[in-house]
């Protein structure tokens, strides 16, 4: 489950940002710091995570370090359903 979710998110990131295709995107890669997403793309990414997980990302989450990695997003939004 974890690998499947992370792979779906990773595939979406590469589709949004073709320059990312050759880069390694690990579960702990900071997707903001490494420039994989900017403000405009993050809006779409939030929609994707919310629709896939069924949970809301609140504005106070935006600065949270766990929102910056695919592993962190999985743990906070998907892990409970998978358990």
């Amino acid at each position: 489950m974890r690998e499947q979710v992370i792979e779906r998110l990773r595939t979406w990131l590469v589709r949004q940002n073709p320059e990312a295709a050759g880069k390694d995107i690990f579960p702990d890669t900071d997707i903001i710091e490494t420039g994989l997403l900017d403000s405009l793309q993050l809006v779409e990414f939030i929609l994707l995570v919310e629709m896939e997980s069924g949970k809301r990302i609140l504005s106070e989450h935006i600065d949270a370090s766990w929102l910056r990695t695919l592993g962190g997003i999985y743990e906070h939004f998907f892990a409970a359903e998978a358990a």
Binding site: L40, L42, V43, R56
Partner: protein, 285 residues
């Protein structure tokens, strides 16, 4: 920076705003029940109307789709207006727009009133205000770029909204209350657009020569991507989810790919793109 055109526009618009002030709390009739035989949105603007799924929906589902898409549109405006009010308030009495403070106060007051009307409609008839997903991550800007982009993005946002307002306001098939709200919003937004164009032009002329060709291309690229992102926000997967439709994100992708939807996007953005395209050295293609 040459601000005389901005000051002149602000003086004229301040007088117009004061003369045409409308009390948003008393200028609409709020029926306890919506009109069941009229859609809340002009049919060509309903994102689902051009999709094959529309033919499978009952009249009641279509009515609800129009209502929720209207709520999503109004919610998007509420989110944009909040950011705009914060930005204008920060510029009220210092910086390059300080001489236009009187008009900025009208501007903020009118945006606040719009938000109150939109929010009331959403809460009463749709039972929800769709949450805002827009975020701003800190990044480095060229000198004057952040100020230019703030007003340029506001202009793009308002001209897109204004086009949708006008289409809905002129469609006699649309339920009377949302039509009246669209008409009210369009009239006041026309003043904001006139002011915004003057500010955007002044900021572009003041700062863009210093950015160089590469810098101007970078700013233009960001603005183009902002426009595209905004077009996508007009198609809400949360509306599809609330309508009980399967695979909301997949359906949204299909809707965004429809020629009819792309035509709506071209029509909605034609005027603002024509304006921006006249700024010397701004190439949005």
């Amino acid at each position: 920076m040459r601000m005389e055109p901005v000051e002149r526009a602000a003086a004229v618009l301040s007088r117009t705003s004061a003369a045409r002030f409308r009390d948003p709390y008393h200028c609409f009739d709020w029926p306890s029940r919506p009109e069941p035989d009229r859609l809340a949105m002009s049919r060509p603007l309903i994102s689902l109307a051009a999709h094959p799924i529309w033919e499978t929906l009952t009249d009641e589902q279509r009515w609800r789709a129009a209502l929720l898409e209207t709520a999503a549109f109004f919610s998007l405006n509420v989110a944009g207006e909040r950011e705009l009010m914060i930005g204008l308030a920060a510029r009220l009495h210092h910086g390059t727009l300080a001489p236009a403070s009187e008009y900025l106060l009208h501007f903020i007051q009118e945006e606040c009133a719009h938000s109150a009307v939109f929010t009331r409609f959403c809460r009463i008839y749709a039972g929800r205000l769709y949450p805002d997903r827009q975020v701003r991550l800190p990044r480095k800007y060229l000198a004057g770029e952040e100020e230019f982009l703030f007003f340029a993005q506001v202009l793009v946002f308002e001209q897109l909204a204004g086009w949708h307002n006008a289409q809905n306001a002129h469609d006699a098939e649309v339920w009377a209350l949302p039509r009246a709200i669209h008409e009210y919003h369009a009239e006041e937004e026309a003043r904001h657009v006139a002011f915004g164009r003057t500010v955007v032009e002044a900021l572009w002329n003041a700062h863009s020569p210093g950015w160089g060709e590469e810098g101007r291309a970078q700013v233009a690229g960001y603005l183009r991507r902002y426009l595209e992102a905004l077009h996508r926000l007009y198609v809400s997967p949360f509306v599809y989810r609330d309508l009980g439709l399967a695979d909301p994100m997949g359906l949204r992708a299909q809707v965004l790919a429809l020629p009819a939807r792309q035509q709506v996007q071209r029509d909605a953005s034609a005027r603002v793109l024509a304006f921006l395209g006249r700024l010397p050295g701004l190439v949005l293609a």
